[in-house]
């Protein structure tokens, strides 16, 4: 009599269905993905009950950091290049093609116009080092040196459909915001959006 051989039966599982699900979800996430932009500074926005969404394209974002530094950014690479071109003409600063390329990849920046070429050179030679360069913020204070107003003007020249959004940090002081608002109002821009987080409205509240 032969010894009873235990039947070696590996538990088997059909992975095909699971694989299908995984790839279906993957496709969904790839198609809906909108990557987080590398921002010059992390900004924690206050929240509001407003339900209006920030537009996806044709938008200019003026960010106010927690230390009161002002950063500027537009969403489209073509607009960024056009804007840089305009600034280079009015300010008389020449940029090389490589510098322009680096500039068009920046989601936002907080560097005065004079030190822009130097900052972009870091990006040309070593793109990873760019984050480590301290950014002093765009000057907004005095009227003659109000570079923010120049950027806003040139960006709007490059893309006339640009909408304007201000993204301020919780702890940023009001006078900085006032300066930003003054730069906008000086150009007759009287309507803009404030980017906020979303919070639930109080119970029983209804929008009209």
């Amino acid at each position: 009599m032969p010894a009873v051989k235990p039947k070696r039966n590996y538990p088997m599982m059909d992975m095909t269905a699971m694989c299908d699900v995984a790839f279906l979800l993957l496709t969904f996430f790839i198609l809906t993905a909108q990557f987080k932009a590398q921002d010059a500074a992390t900004i924690e926005t206050p929240s509001s009950i407003s339900a209006i969404k920030v537009p996806d394209k044709d938008i200019m974002i003026i960010s106010i950091g927690k230390d009161g530094k002002v950063y500027f950014g537009v969403d489209n690479q073509v607009t960024r290049l056009g804007m840089l071109e305009n600034i280079s003409q009015t300010e008389g600063i020449q940029f090389t093609d490589k510098q322009k390329k680096v500039f068009s990849l920046q989601a936002n920046f907080g560097v005065p116009i004079r030190s822009l070429p130097q900052w972009l050179n870091v990006g040309v030679t070593n793109p990873d080092k760019m984050k480590e360069v301290p950014q002093p913020g765009i000057p907004t204070d005095s009227t003659a040196q109000n570079e923010l107003a120049k950027w806003i003007y040139q960006a709007r020249r490059a893309n006339k459909d640009l909408r304007i959004a201000i993204k301020g940090d919780n702890v940023a002081k009001f006078p900085v915001f006032k300066d930003v608002m003054a730069s906008l109002q000086a150009q007759n821009i009287n309507k803009f959006n404030l980017i906020t987080g979303t919070e639930a409205p109080p119970a029983g509240w209804k929008a009209d």
Binding site: M12, S48, N193
Partner: protein, 189 residues
């Protein structure tokens, strides 16, 4: 694991040489692993909640050469909120800053429920006294004056409160009048 089932037959006294059937089943486990890994990456790399935005409209800048005639607001319709430091609000409820009673009436409140209750109270009071205007809008006006020490969050909170209380008429003013400066004293810094 998802092993491939093989063999079986043979050894039953069956002398016929059978060609071994190659299984066509493929082990899907690594592929599932890869799929979920990529999903994880895409979930983490995308922005989950899209931020919302509140729109703010400010009046046109005035031409200095041709100042426009505007009717002064009646103090009895106005709630003035001074946004101060450390998340405090100084409220002046339906009293002008140069009034004698202003000093004693200046209330210190905090954001959130306190501020909301105050706005609702003032709103109801004004509606009772003055009624609606010809367009059917409440005549209640809120003047928000952020002081130098207030933060951006304070301002957004105050503006949000306008949306919550449905106060249609509000103004964001940054300049203080002389009497207001006197009234607030060192709180204005």
């Amino acid at each position: 694991m998802a092993e491939i089932a093989q063999g079986g037959g043979g050894g039953h006294g069956d002398k016929k040489v059978r060609s071994k059937k190659a299984s066509t089943r493929v082990d899907m486990t690594p592929m599932v692993d890869l799929g979920f890994l990529l999903i994880t990456f895409f979930i983490l790399a995308t922005t989950l909640s899209k931020p919302s935005s509140m729109s703010l409209a400010v009046p046109d800048k005035q031409n200095k050469d041709q100042p426009q005639d505007t009717e002064p607001l009646k103090a009895s319709k106005v709630l003035t909120l001074f946004l101060g430091k450390d998340n405090t609000v100084w409220a002046l409820d339906r009293i002008a800053a140069d009034d004698d009673k202003a000093k004693t009436d200046l209330k210190k409140i905090s954001y959130g429920p306190d501020l909301r209750t105050l706005i609702f109270q003032a709103q109801a009071q004004v509606d009772r006294e003055h009624g609606k205007d010809e367009k059917g809008i409440s005549q209640f006006v809120v003047v928000i004056k952020p002081l130098k020490s207030s933060t951006y969050k304070n301002m957004v909170d105050a503006l949000d409160e306008m949306a919550v209380t449905k106060s249609k008429r509000y103004a964001l003013v940054d300049a203080l009048t002389t009497s207001e400066k006197e009234l607030l004293g060192d709180k204005a810094d």
